[in-house]
Assembly symmetry: D2
Homo-oligomer: 436 residues x 4
């Protein structure tokens, strides 16, 4: 990569910051990234992308996991229609939760390389502390109880910045670059639908990144190396029983709360797995109407994880058996739905080494290896990566580490905006190395 | 009792029905019977009662069990201030949940007799079926989600009707009649505070009644006899643990949902009691924030019952031990609060026989014995009765059975308004027999 | 009944005591009453009974519940063959647990009346206290760990005494008297097989009795009245899973101990029943081979009870569902077998009144009513009674109450032998009243 | 090491095999290695060892974990006194479970090096298959239900063989060699007492080995490398409640089986640990006397493990809290005792490399690295190693891998006796390298 490209990126500083702050102001939860999608589609189109997919071109409606209530999505759509600066040409494509954008930049013959950026925010109420950077600079969330507390606002700014640079240099590149702006990464709900729609079928190389790390990070150094993520399955279970008066005829009830309680204890007691690491958590339980009525309905939200996809499958299978048996035990039945799912993720070593070399060669970037103990999380990216790797493609996930006041998912999370330029430089350097 | 008194009561028909329908239109939950109390206080004052107690003269604030949230009570107060016909002189006495009215009618030397009427409505959404009598007659609930589905509207109309008759005939009576309009009967929350305030200390005779029975009742016949009710204790338990990321560091959490689930199973497994009937139900459980976080807070609502107060005490003691041990087991702690409590109730046989004779002698009333299988419910009245019986007083609880379309607590509950006149006649006949 | 008959019975005193002490010396557990059966069959034959049924004439092998291990039964047979005074003519009929004797005494035309006496002892080690009456008199148990601690030795002596008297007076009687010496009453295992073999089909009247009460009894008074007993079902459950090394591959196991533990908690949490009294107890659990192996086999022994047969059925059905679901939950399967079962028992009131009158008329006997609080036990007699009552026959169960040092099933149980004469007098008086 | 020494060892073949077969014939469980200890003490004495410690010189009585019943130990002593070839001079030192032998060979100034060999057999019934090598050669177990199924018979033969060689070459060595024949390795019960007695305080180098691997091993190759073992704690828990009749007065009981069942479920539900691997297993549960009695006593055997000692401590602490809370929950109390405990084990890398070099230099031995997936077991050796490492000493544990028909702990386990010579050669080579 030419030295000049880094300088071009440096000049984009104000633009990148402005993009990021705009997204930060209007955070949207998974499958409601409607305003966000409309703006991204507009920008990619304006940059001269050959193909800009939106709505049902990105995912098929039925493939979406962990969808919010219809009502909520309709409220979000109404919100996006008013005074938030959505692009009203593309907005209607997103109605009913059809979010996400895929942009194709064709640069002649050559491999297909995909870059993935996630879009959704979190149900976190942003702090009102005066010290909080978005408060000082006046770009804190306008959506009460929702916040870009996982840095996806930065990811999208990096994506759009990279798109602009590559579009400007398309004549120097070969092959096709596919920009995947993925909805509903939180809860690992969105990637699977993108795979199902076939968007990974022609991808030779896949790159993704998480911009910010935890609060202990001191320097801006891009993490490249042996990244791994846990496979995970998110399940919702609804038990249905029969209500009865707890004083007069308790035996006429079928106690959905007893079924749930028995399930919780037994779920946590699923055996450890010999050759792998596993996790189980029932994180939420809502049951019953009143203390003098045998509970006829209960709702559980749980997740399992595994350091291998097989271990995750074992956990899911066992969990389903427990849920069904716990229901039957007290004469109830249970409806189980998958609210999210991704496989175990891993970087291809040789490919990652190639990326590392490209980044090291770039005088603007500091690079550091990825340590093993970062591997106790799950990333929806793994589902895209597995799809690419399954037909021989290569994948690498970068940690674009920048200092931040608080850790991911916290109400005062605030990454150093210097990461925006580093992110664009890193992706650009990698693409140049792979497609020149 | 003179035959003429029954005729006087017959003439009150329209007035009783109007009173009942007014209460039905504006139902108020336990400890928010503010409009209701203000109207009753006004009426008793206008009838020339010697003493009309309200606010902290009825109960001490700290003695109230199962109080709603402050905010909710303030909303209810604001509601009562506007356009609902509250009596604005007495209303301020009820602010902050200081509801209930006690009226004293002194008729010279003689015993003190108390009559108890309950005031609160239920969190039931009234049916919008066109067949529902209150809908046809245009007096259905104006408070969405709240309904007089337990007949307390009728009880109060009977109480006020009886007050009017007795006030008119006070020269024919000896002793004192105390009208107790009790708040928060549902959930057995109010009687105990009335006892604690000393209102039962001078009571020689206590009478209470429930106007309507279940949907299988065919005739208007007053039930007199071997009434019994279950002792019960209502507990709320809040478990506090520590949150942690379910993927990264599950061991750093203290799982309040596991504590709750273990408590639920073990609570339902409390042994049966040899010489008594018992009940246990955890009717509600709310726990956790999200599936990927170790739950740090859970809330349980439960009740125990016993056919004897000793059996209820056994159940409560055992339940508390389970709650505390389940908390400790997973490194949590638990806060247990009593949301309601009443003892086992029973009628004094000789006294009840006297009441029965008085009612039988009244040509207007049909009387039937109370069957044993009605005894599987609890009644806050039992707490008042026990206080009276503990110092040698006598108590009897009547079932003033009238036909109804649906059973108690159902959204289309609708008792025959003929019960209003029967109720006034029954209480009047009993008072005349005891105090003439 | 003639005065003279009571005198005859008084003269049998030594004989009755000798019979009882002989049975006491050689107690035999349920389905191993081999020596006992052989002696009874001999005696009835010698008394000139028209029919003496033994072995498979009494019960069909396959109908027996709660059978001991084959080996144990063979050891018992060997024991009975040697030096214990068995009758070697009848003994071979009992081999393999084919115990029980039914004797028929035909006295011409008339109704069929059955008298039931139980035979088995308990797995209780008799005390070696010098104060214990059998020790003082030298007739304590010769079978280590087995004891007639429930008075069945007395019951059989009464049965044989009654047989002798009735045989002597058969010319004064009409109809048929059937003496049922029932095996395996403990654990309610034997009556059902006797019913299945048809022995109740022709019975018009059934009488049974328990000779001794609890240690608080002060006088010899025969209890006649509103006797009731609980229905009960005894279940054995064996869970089968798969073993695995708990360190290396816990996930390869199917944990039969987890299934059992989950079953235990949920079994005890089966709801109370509105209109009836119920019981549940898992009294025994044996599981696992070693601490470092996932348990592949566990064994539960439990019982349910109900004050009505319907309540018992509810409990059994629910218990089976829990056992099966708990097994499936952890990938195990379960084998459930019925180790005993009897229905709820009740006396026919008119018939009981007739018996009461007969006993009252007998100047030698004191009679007292049966109090309700004796009704928290189960009796295999109820199964015989129900069979008789189901075709219109009548049943009454007497409590032939005598003082005893310790309560039933205790190691120093020792009833007053005066009860032997009272028992014979009571049965004889009842038979004379019904069949004269 | 001189080439000649390997030849000397080859000449010991018959002697090593005879030793091993003698031990195999008379296997003894942990803390009953009485015959075994007496023979080893005799041999070391005869070899001219400077110090031969036995009885309370090896361990203090009170420090022993997981001791068998007194009666059983006395039976074992009686057995060892008769016809089994014990050495009757040393045998009395072992009475009451005071087993183990430590032999010291002083070779002048220099470091102290300890070699550890374990002695106890397993409660496994040896197969009677004709194909089983010990059956063919006539040296199968004479102690029914006990078998050297973990190769400790071979370990001891190797130990004695090494002792003989080193004693013969003591003039070529410097420093002191300490031979530790450790009792009760199974269940990790013995090492801790040896440490407590101070025997590791002066040890600079520690070596141990397990002779045979699993049935998939094909070649005789000594494993040297990154060995790791799990920390583990073995707990016994006895719950004490109160018995009661399950029909009459279930509420009078304190159900020790319910406490146990609740403990089992919650124990298995202890959270996974973020940075480590853990294990939990309740492998055995014995509870109750009969189905109609509330259980008053239950016994649990469990173990926890951790890939770090901290993780094991976390599991133990949590398990104790669950056991205590489960007891209290149902009004019981619990007695918890430690039946075994060892820490996590690891080899010192530099020291291990030195051993590897010494073995590689020995032309008779094949060496292979140790793979990570062997690390899911626990070894009492770790306790000795930690004691040595805690004061700066070095430790390495070898896998002296030989083919075997069946895996460790199986009834037809039978390692290739060629391992005996290899074992002696390996230890001898290591000692020569370290102490020459």
């Amino acid at each position: 990569m030419e030295h000049d490209v880094n300088r071009e990126i440096d000049k984009m500083k104000e633009e990148l910051i402005a993009l990021r702050r705009d997204f930060h102001r209007y955070p949207e939860l998974g499958w409601t990234e409607m305003r966000t999608s409309s703006i991204i589609a507009r920008k990619l189109t304006d940059l001269g992308f050959d193909q800009v997919l939106t709505g049902d071109e990105v995912v098929h409606a039925k493939d979406r996991m962990g969808l919010p209530e219809e009502d909520y999505m309709e409220q979000c759509y109404a919100r996006a229609q008013k005074e938030e600066g959505s692009n009203l040409e593309f907005l209607p494509r997103t109605r009913g939760g059809m979010t996400g954008v895929i942009g194709g930049l064709r640069c002649g013959k050559g491999p297909t390389l995909a870059l993935r950026f996630d879009m959704d925010a979190l149900p976190v109420k942003e702090t009102d502390s005066r010290d909080h950077f978005p408060n000082k600079e006046g770009f804190s969330s306008r959506h009460d109880g929702i916040m870009h507390a996982c840095g996806h606002d930065c990811h999208m700014a990096v994506g759009l910045g990279t798109a602009k640079i590559l579009a400007a240099h398309r004549k120097d590149l070969h092959g096709t670059v596919k920009f995947i702006f993925q909805p509903a990464e939180e809860g690992v709900r969105g990637a699977s639908a993108i795979v199902d729609a076939g968007h990974m079928d022609d991808v030779d190389y896949l790159l993704g990144a998480h911009m910010a790390g935890d609060a202990s990070t001191r320097e801006c150094a891009i993490g490249v190396g042996e990244w791994r993520s846990l496979a995970t399955t998110k399940l919702d279970a609804d038990f249905y029983g029969r209500a009865a008066h707890a004083g007069k005829h308790p035996e006429e009830g079928n106690n959905a709360l007893l079924s749930a309680a028995s399930a919780v204890l037994n779920l946590h007691a699923i055996p450890r797995v010999g050759g792998a690491m596993t996790r189980i958590n029932v994180g939420r339980l809502i049951a019953g109407a009143g203390r003098n009525v045998i509970c006829d309905q209960s709702h559980l939200e749980l997740e399992v994880r595994g350091s291998t996809s097989e271990a995750d499958e074992y956990m899911e299978r066992y969990a389903r058996r427990i849920l069904e048996s716990s229901a039957r035990m007290h004469g109830c039945h249970v409806k189980i739905s998958v609210a999210g799912k991704t496989c175990a993720g891993r970087n291809d070593p040789d490919f990652t080494e190639k990326i590392r070399a490209a980044l090291m060669a770039n005088s603007d970037l500091r690079v550091e290896p990825i340590s093993q103990n970062r591997s106790l999380v799950s990333e929806d990216y793994a589902t895209l990566a597995e799809a690419v790797q399954s037909h021989g493609g290569k994948s690498s996930y970068l940690l674009n580490i920048v200092p931040t006041v608080a850790s991911l998912h916290e109400c005062n999370f605030s990454p150093d905006e210097a990461g925006l330029m580093n992110g664009v430089k890193a992706f650009t350097a990698a693409v140049f190395a792979l497609m020149k």
